[in-house]
């Protein structure tokens, strides 16, 4: 049940993009086409699910015992940046089809604050290792959902007579706002 609640919470109630403002750059940047948004979402889930347990281990076995809580940010980001680069190199060499599918999105993820955000959130919520992995997966799903929905709507907006000044990013932003507004329906569902 706890897992189910976390899933619902991370996808709908506290969606990282729509309610917590994380990962805005890729949210607006990679939501022009459905295919691209799927790839980006998949890559984010992938990296999050690997990065979160790693950072969790660092927090548990390095930062807490040595009382170095203030180094959390720098250590996490170092790990995430290296990890992303490593994954990219690995995929490029070993699994070229997967690299072609997700690899091009990987460099964008280093600067995706959603990954770091989730790693830190997991610590603040004091989840255990299994729950952290699950939470990061659920958050990634939430990101994917928001991204794909926005991409589908933006594809449709492309063939609409938008006012000239609304074309492109402004329309996407307003649409994201309305999406966030509609996700407020889930507010209070889990309390």
């Amino acid at each position: 049940m706890e897992y189910f609640l976390i899933l619902i919470s991370a996808i709908f109630v506290n969606n990282i993009v729509l309610a917590q403002y994380l990962g805005q750059c890729p949210y607006l940047g990679c939501s022009k086409e459905k295919g691209v948004s799927l790839g980006m979402g998949g890559a984010v889930i992938f990296v999050m699910v690997i990065a979160t347990p790693l950072t969790w281990l660092i927090q548990e076995y390095v930062l807490l015992p040595l009382d170095l809580g203030y180094l959390q940010t720098i250590m996490f980001i170092l790990v995430i940046a290296s990890l992303v680069q490593l994954v990219e190199m690995f995929l490029k060499k070993s699994v070229p089809p997967l690299y072609n599918a997700l690899g091009i999105f990987l460099p964008l993820i280093t600067t995706n604050c959603a990954v770091l955000g989730v790693a830190i959130l997991v610590q603040r919520k004091e989840f255990d290792l299994g729950l952290s992995i699950f939470y990061s997966f659920a958050s990634g799903l939430g990101f994917l959902l928001a991204l794909v929905l926005l991409a589908a709507i933006r594809e449709r907006l492309e063939v609409t007579h938008l006012p000239k000044s609304m074309q492109g990013v402004p329309a996407a932003l307003v649409m994201a706002g309305i999406m966030s507004l509609s996700f407020m329906a889930f507010k209070g569902m889990i309390s």
Binding site: Y70, L71, I74, L78, R124, K125, G188, S191
Partner: protein, 193 residues
């Protein structure tokens, strides 16, 4: 090979330097941060506990060691016109979002609660956050520690409708503070008298 060596050296050096810089900065700022934390987190809650104190409890606080957990605990004296009215201790209880921190004021005379104040919480806005409202908090004024339980647990506190977890967390925090208080009471009396 040279390049790899360079990579390793550079990245290691940068990490090391930043580690050094940061830890130095941390040490430099640590006392200030603690004071700020007390002023801005615990400070306002002290006002909720006893609105009309006249001293500076943050400055006059004393550190004790919690015999239950061996962790340091701050005890704040609340004085009105120089006369010690109560001492305040922070306790924690699990809420919905995160731990709820509650500052509990104890009357040294009769060991009853003078009031409580919420220090930290991450509850659902509009639901759980209502624990910080005066109506809810007022229920704790003047009751004894043993009474400070939810009605369902045999106490006198009405839980907030729709925010049972938050209410329970508050009560647990009060109980936590009460435990610390009873454990430290003798030391406190000695220190502030």
């Amino acid at each position: 090979m040279r390049e790899i060596l360079k990579m390793i050296v550079v990245l290691t050096c940068i990490s090391g330097i930043s580690g050094f810089a940061l830890s130095s900065l941390k040490q430099m700022t640590a006392p200030t941060i603690e004071l700020q934390l007390l002023t801005f987190v615990q400070g306002p809650s002290l006002k909720q506990v006893l609105p009309d104190y006249t001293n500076d409890p943050v400055q006059e606080r004393k550190k004790f060691t919690n015999p239950l957990t061996d962790k340091p605990v701050n005890v704040f004296p609340l004085k009105v016109d120089g006369e010690l009215k109560a001492v305040a201790i922070e306790g924690f209880g699990g809420g919905y979002g995160d731990n709820i921190g509650v500052m509990v004021g104890f009357d040294l005379e009769d060991n009853k609660l003078v009031g409580i104040g919420i220090t930290t919480m991450k509850e659902t806005p509009g639901l759980g956050t209502r624990i910080a409202e005066p109506d809810f908090r007022a229920q704790f004024n003047g009751i004894s520690e043993s009474e400070a339980k939810l009605k369902s647990q045999g106490g006198v506190i009405d839980a907030l409708s729709g925010a049972t977890i938050s209410s329970g967390g508050t009560v647990a925090a009060v109980q936590d503070a009460g435990k610390i208080y009873s454990a430290l009471k003798a030391d406190i009396l000695e220190a502030f008298k």
